[in-house]
Amino acid sequence: VSAVLFFIAAIGVIAGAIGVVSLSNPFYSVLALVGHLLSLAVLFLLLRAEFVAAAQVVLYAGAVMVLYVFVVAYVGGEEQSLMATQALRRVRSRGHGGRKLSGALFAGALLVELFIALLGSGLKAVDGYGAPYAPGPHAFGTPGYIGNLLLTRFLLVFEIASLLLLIAAVGGVVLARRRRGLEGEERDEHAPLRLARPLGTGTMLEAVEGLPLALARAGGAHPAESGAAESREGARHEEGGW
């Protein structure tokens, strides 16, 4: 049974990988990667790595792939490919076939090298079925076993990984935040002038739109006016939005 399961999962893994590389729409690539990860979790289970398989399904195929799907939807695979068609054509004429050929050559060389290193080494253990395994509550690969290792022998690794995650989260927020001066510049352009000027002293804006509306637009310092406060709230929402 395990052999049949292995071949089904291995075919799923390799088909998913080929799908990721060959599909032209990034959205389908992400879906192919989800299939690849699920098949890979089956292989992990066959290798008695229960905790890693569960983490793979929950974290990788769940959380990380959702992040990917959101970014693909935000950036827009189709529209982007239409937009960049001309640039692509230029690049393609510059040597698309050469890149593909050299990439295939390099990957093939890497594959041969890996096969030589992994399978041609003549190690007897590689041809075995692995170490003996006895099922139990604290057997090899269970959450208890992994947790015990993580909190005793690999405590430093655990802490460094958590610090790395924190740094990456902060970095992601910093990188993807809305920068001042790109989108919000119309709103902030005359802020110092607005501060220096008394309200209701006849600017063009106030003449055209009426005083309350203009005050609201300016995000002015009249907290008594509910309309102004509301629209300021709206403006803040708009600015703080992702």
């Binding site: 290798l47 959380a63 640039a87 690049v91 890996l114 590689v126 992994i146 990188l175």
Partner: protein, 99 residues
Amino acid sequence: VTIAWYLAVSALVFAIGAFGVLTRRNPLVVLLCLELMLNGANLALIAFSRMWGNGDGQILAIVVMTVAACEVCIGLGMIVAIHRRRLPIDVDELRELQG
């Protein structure tokens, strides 16, 4: 199924991922192919861990998954920032680091 089969699958996945990294131009797909390479390495780690009956390889696989998550976070943040600046989402066009 012997350990050698798992290692063969891991080598194949790694090579396919390397091919994708080298040939695709969309940075999103390049990130996905990087994930493929990391997954190939993970499979090899877990296969060796099973071979020796030792949990160190599984811990290392979990650390690799953590690093992959960090890399995805930073990479997707960069892609969103690139998209915000209306730059082409194409690794061949984005050759210069200067803002």
